[in-house]
């Protein structure tokens, strides 16, 4: 009697926790279902040319939607962010885990975590009202004056709202993410690896470059790919500084061109969409983003989980 009651409570609780786990999977299924369901109208209008089209015309009767410019805009801004952000992040991770004494490293790590906790809308406001002006005066104008006539990369008079600014601010945003995961990964390397290198007389630089980096290759690559996922999916920050070009004009031809990313088109147009096709085209862009980031994140998980279990602290 007593035992039976006990087992009943256990059975119920077991099903409750299994149910909660199932619910988390259901949410992923609902995300997939929603983006596909919402995208159907525009796919029936455009078919596969949605992916390679460059038009963007929401005027009723002449509607035409193509995702290609925004896919390119996304890859270009994310690319700029990675080129700038990854080396800096690795430098930070190495400093905290290999060079600084704990007395210095711990507070520095904390400050980096604070940077990760700042909401992207605040990065966006700061980038729009403050940082954009710095970039324009200190980097963009000098570059344009020096190379504007000779290199096609810089052949456009800058005014601060462009792929270059978006890429740099994205880099600022992903640095705390990549550096804190990389730090965890460096920490997970057994000390015997370091001791072996030092006992052979290797300097710190040689130890990091020839022993630690090769050892942690997969994990560090995973950390980078997680950063890439964030850079590709970040919305609000990019919407505020990328200049919101549409259609063929959104394919960036120079570093100082206005553009749009997949997510920034959705954010800037969603509330203005009046025709069902327009809303559907924006959701179809969401579907493209879903597939892209699912691919990136699954890859990253497979790489990182080989090294350590990442603290799944969102942006941490």
């Amino acid at each position: 009697m007593f035992l039976g009651k006990k087992r009943k409570g256990d059975r119920i609780f077991r099903w409750v926790v299994i149910g909660a786990s199932g619910y988390t999977l259901l949410m992923l299924v609902l995300v997939a279902f929603s983006v596909i369901e919402g995208a159907i109208p525009v796919f029936s209008l455009e078919g596969l040319s949605f992916f390679i089209g460059t038009d963007w015309n929401p005027v009723e009767g002449r509607e035409s939607y193509g995702a290609l410019p925004y896919v390119i805009g996304t890859l270009v801004t994310a690319g700029i962010a990675m080129v700038i952000g990854v080396p800096i992040s690795l430098g930070i991770a190495v400093f905290i885990s290999e060079i600084a004494p704990p007395k210095v490293g711990t507070p520095v790590a904390y400050v980096i975590e604070v940077l990760a906790a700042i909401p992207s809308i605040i990065y966006g406001l700061w980038a729009l009202l403050v940082f954009r002006i710095w970039l324009l005066d200190l980097i963009e104008r000098p570059l344009y004056q020096a190379f504007g006539g000779t290199l096609p990369f810089f052949a456009k008079a800058p005014f601060g709202l462009d792929v270059f600014t978006a890429g740099i601010v994205l880099a600022v945003m992903i640095i705390p993410i990549i550096s804190s995961i990389s730090r965890e990964i460096l920490k997970a390397i057994p000390n015997s690896q370091r001791e072996a290198a030092y006992s052979l007389g290797a300097t710190r630089w040689e130890t990091v470059r020839k022993v630690l980096f090769p050892y942690a290759k997969a994990g560090l690559l995973g950390a980078t790919v997680i950063g890439l996922g964030r850079a590709v999916g970040e919305t609000i920050l990019v919407t505020m500084v990328i200049g919101n070009a549409l259609g063929i004009a959104a394919i960036p031809t120079t570093l100082f061109s206005q553009s749009n990313t997949i997510s920034s088109v959705i954010a800037s147009q969603f509330n203005e969409a009046v025709t069902p096709f327009h809303s559907s085209a924006l959701i179809a862009l969401g579907a493209v983003l879903f597939v892209l980031t699912m691919g990136i994140n699954i890859g990253a998980q497979l790489l990182v989980s080989r090294m350590v279990k990442v603290v799944p602290g969102g942006r941490e």
Partner: protein, 310 residues
């Protein structure tokens, strides 16, 4: 004979010189490398310093009792405040955690206490990690398709659903991690008294891991308080307070990040100053959550020597 030894001598000194030079170069490289990593830290500090200075400097002058409690007046001439946005953020985040906290904690319990290494657990774990990297704008689409379209208007439930989906994987992960740190002896003590497993789990294991689980919840709360993108397609934003009536649940709601986004798009000076003020309020909410987090983390690792604090 003398010739040979002097040649050997010379050769040796040449080799030694080369080694000394090589070592100097290696040491120099090491210095350069240390300098570069310090420069990386400095580069990362500049934005943080600048953001905090600008938000405090420009935000502080905007803040007043009226600013914190009143709805927005005419944006051209100023006046009014961001009361509805503060109220909306608290409500939508609270609503989201009503869904997110229980589901997240229970799923974390399953993964740590019940699942072991079966395939279902592996899939749940893997896709929760994948979901932490899902762009929030994609998650907003769920709220739009499933709730906004069904209800026929933007509403708070859609926003709360979207935010809860962002929140759950964070809570699941941290809960599982922390529960796994609780030593087995604690659970065994419970079982040996004949207490059923579900009670051991809830009242002994979970309770010993309380601080860690709270850490996860706080982390998730601070993350979703700052989300903007999913709110654009779910709660829309308004300049009115949320009304606690049936109609209130079918009307748009405001939130701080959304208000900052809308204000930043306006060309008026008052809009800018309101934007900074709202940013200061938001950053205070998020940073005070993360300070609270730090306070909890100090106590997070399970101290075996300290025994169980039940």
């Amino acid at each position: 004979m003398g010739d040979i030894s002097s040649i050997q001598e010379k050769r040796r000194s040449v080799i030694q010189d080369a080694i000394v030079r090589q070592n100097k170069k290696r040491r120099l490289m090491d210095r350069v490398f240390t300098g570069v990593t310090i420069a990386c830290i400095a580069l990362a500090m500049i934005p943080l310093g600048s953001i905090l200075i600008e938000v405090v400097k420009n935000g502080a002058s905007a803040i007043s009792v009226e600013f914190l409690t009143r709805p927005q007046g005419s944006i051209v001439s100023g006046g009014g405040g961001i009361g509805p946005a503060i109220q909306g953020t608290l409500l939508v985040v609270g609503y989201a955690s009503l869904i997110g906290v229980p589901v997240g904690v229970l799923a974390g319990i399953y993964l740590s206490e019940y699942a072991g290494n079966n395939r279902f657990a592996y899939i749940v774990r893997f896709f929760n990690n994948v979901m932490t990297g899902m762009p929030s704008i994609v998650i907003g689409i769920v709220g739009y398709i499933l709730i906004v379209l069904a209800v026929g208007s933007f509403n708070i439930t859609a926003g709360a659903l979207a935010l809860s989906i962002i929140m759950i994987p964070i809570v699941v992960g941290v809960t599982e991690e922390t529960l796994k740190l609780v030593p087995h002896s604690i659970r065994e003590a419970g079982h040996s008294l004949g207490i059923p497993k579900w009670r051991v789990t809830l009242f002994i294991t979970l309770r010993s891991a309380k601080n860690g689980v709270l850490t996860g919840i706080v982390l998730a709360l601070s993350r979703i308080s700052g989300e903007t993108a999913p709110l654009i397609m779910t709660i829309l934003g308004t300049s009115l307070f949320f009304q606690f009536t049936f109609e209130g649940f079918t009307d748009p709601v405001d939130a701080l990040p959304l208000r900052i986004f809308r204000l930043a798009a306006l060309p008026y000076e008052h809009a800018e100053s309101f934007g900074w003020g709202a940013a200061l309020v938001l950053i205070l909410i998020v940073l005070s959550l993360s300070m609270a987090l730090r306070f909890l983390v100090l106590d997070r690792r399970y101290k075996a020597s300290g025994g169980a604090r039940l």
